[in-house]
């Protein structure tokens, strides 16, 4: 239903607040650039696996704007395809964590008497579990792959999503508008979906802008360690693994993925800071 969403008026006002500030706008531009690179880049660049033996470890040139790697593959094509892998890892793992974590957090917070102690104990156990051990285990079971990366990263984000949702629910359920809904005779389902969930959306959106870049770094790390995406699939982490052998001869091979990871991460973080301010419905006009 449209009336649970921001009306055009309010959205326009939020956008105006957002647009005035340079940092969030920089973040937005970086994030859009990253998404475009991931979605459109692979269509316009050449085959990331095509090898040019006449130009191995070539510096940037007109033919290869980012140079080539040890097998003569175009670094730009690989960066663009790597962006796709990063975006998938970031978005899918975050979506997974949200899809599982939000319902758990909702019921834990809402039925805090019975369910909350159990859920929070499980969260603590999850937090105590070393992430890398879990990722290695998953890689051993599933074989190193993007799927394993998404599962491992999604799982590692789960406690944060559950905690944030639960914390919001605990605060929101004390609000008088929830009491008013109970006084109207509203049932739990109605209250959870119409009153509680929409009001914890903002911190979860902000959480997504924290989780996605963390997952991008996580994917690169796991792939760098050989636990994630496998060569020849281009991933920024895989590219860094190769690059470290040629730091002297072809430093750009390390610079490009490093810079891309930094920019994408920075973009999401700046965007998240901006959203944090704007999304609070109580904040001024």
């Amino acid at each position: 239903m449209t009336d649970t969403m921001a009306p055009p008026l309010r959205r326009a006002r939020m956008w105006r607040r957002f647009r005035r500030r340079p940092m969030p706008m920089t973040g937005l531009v970086l994030v859009i650039g990253f998404i475009l690179l991931a979605l459109v880049g692979p269509l316009v660049t050449g085959d990331p696996a095509a090898q040019d033996y006449l130009a191995t470890l070539a510096p940037p040139s007109a033919a290869h704007p980012m140079g080539t790697d040890d097998l003569g593959r175009d670094a730009f094509a690989r960066i663009a395809h790597g962006a796709q892998v990063s975006l998938q890892a970031g978005v899918l793992s975050t979506a997974l964590a949200m899809a599982v974590g939000i319902p758990i957090g909702l019921v834990a917070g809402f039925y805090r008497r019975w369910l909350d102690p159990i859920v929070m104990r499980l969260v603590d156990v999850t937090l105590a579990f070393p992430f890398l051990v879990f990722a290695v285990g998953l890689a051993a079971i599933l074989g190193p792959s993007l799927r394993g990366v998404v599962l491992a990263l999604g799982f590692s984000q789960l406690p944060a999503v559950i905690r944030i949702t639960r914390g919001e629910v605990l605060a929101i359920r004390e609000m008088d508008y929830v009491a008013a809904a109970v006084a109207d005779g509203a049932g739990d389902g109605h209250i959870i979906f119409r009153y509680v969930l929409p009001n914890c959306a903002s911190p979860l959106i902000v959480q997504a802008t924290v989780a996605i870049p963390a997952a991008i770094i996580g994917e690169a790390t796991l792939s760098f360690l050989g636990l994630g995406v496998q060569p020849p699939t281009p991933s920024w982490g895989v590219m860094l693994t190769t690059a470290q052998q040629y730091l002297g001869d072809a430093p750009w091979l390390a610079i490009w993925p490093g810079v891309m990871i930094a920019l994408a991460t920075l973009g999401f973080n700046l965007l998240g800071d901006g959203l944090r301010d704007v999304l609070d419905p109580r904040s001024g006009p």
């Binding site: 008088d176 508008y177 009491a179 008013a180 005779g185 419905p281």
Partner: protein
């Protein structure tokens, strides 16, 4: 009787928020429930709406015992009672439009389709003095006074028999308080609902309430017709409250002797023995520390008070000490 509360007890763990309170509200009657912060006023209101589970006692709504009704059984009865909340900022769902907020009770009880709801919302907004263009607004776009009008519209749209108004004006600017208070008065006369009007400020209910009940630490200390409470308060606590309240007439204001209560309100976790007011009462004597005074009405005039010094021919005067 629309509402009959008998010996209501509500403890939050060790906190004895309400500790044996009885009161009644007749049809079309406004009862002002007065007391300092923490005396348990809101808790009484929440128990009446079954927003919190009473620890003991009974609550009858319209002659029906609702104390332990299940949520499902309670649902149809919710048409007859609604609440206006104190905080205009937390009482309206920030994600709903005003139209949705006010129309929600109708939709909940399936009393109207969308078109009919829309019509009734328009009618209700007019009654509470809000312009029609407010319908598509969101709560954060409204002022505190406007929000309280929305809260009133929501509470009244089902034409309930009883409205619990929990300090509906105390969070508002003084300039806005009077207009919202007048609105409530007009609506009450117009629609004739009974009202449990909760306030910490006696002067707020002087012209609105038919009767006043004064609460201290989870118990009633005095109740009676508003005129009598103002003219001849019997309990030393009521006398103190009244002496602190502003009075319209400057002559009375000057002549009045102010009773300043010493100390803070004791904790409801461990209320004082005997008369709960004895730690602050200027008239307290030995017996007060050990024997709890019952709420009694020695003259049978419908004006009971819980103080050892109230007898058939004598009323204590807290201002007369020193």
């Amino acid at each position: 009787m629309i509402l009959r509360i008998d010996n209501l007890v509500k403890h939050y763990g060790p906190v004895r928020a309400v500790d044996g309170l009885s009161l009644e509200i007749g049809e079309g009657e406004v009862l002002g429930l007065v007391g300092e912060s923490g005396s348990g006023k809101s808790t009484v209101g929440k128990c009446v709406l079954r927003l919190t589970e009473p620890t003991a006692g009974t609550i009858e709504l319209n002659g029906r015992d609702i104390t332990h009704l299940s949520r499902r059984a309670m649902r149809p009865l919710r048409r007859d009672v609604h609440m206006v909340f104190q905080d205009p900022y937390s009482s309206l769902n920030p994600r709903f439009t005003i139209e949705r907020i006010v129309g929600e009770p109708l939709l909940r009880h399936k009393l109207a389709d969308r078109r009919e709801t829309s019509r009734r919302v328009a009618e209700m907004l007019e009654k509470v003095g809000l312009r029609q263009e407010m319908r598509s607004r969101f709560p954060h776009e409204l002022s505190g006074g406007q929000r309280q009008r929305v809260g009133l519209a929501r509470a009244l749209i089902l034409e309930p028999k009883l409205v619990v108004a929990d300090e509906p004006v105390s969070a508002l600017d003084v300039s806005v308080q009077a207009s919202v208070l007048n609105l409530i008065t007009d609506l009450q006369r117009d629609m004739g609902f009974s009202c449990l009007f909760i306030t910490h400020d006696l002067s707020v209910v002087e012209f609105l309430a038919d009767r006043i009940a004064v609460m201290y630490l989870g118990k009633l200390v005095e109740s009676g017709p508003t005129k009598e409470i103002f003219a001849q308060p019997r309990h030393p606590y009521t006398q103190a409250l009244l002496s602190a309240a502003p009075v319209a007439d400057p002559v009375t204001q000057r002549e009045r002797r102010r009773i300043v209560l010493g100390g803070d309100v004791p904790s409801p976790v461990d209320p004082p023995s005997g008369c709960r007011f004895h730690t602050r009462c200027p008239l307290a004597y030995d017996e007060c520390r050990t024997v709890e005074p019952a709420l009694q009405d020695p003259r049978g005039s419908g004006h009971p008070a819980a103080c050892h010094l109230v007898t058939a021919d004598r009323v204590p005067d807290a201002a007369a000490t020193r």
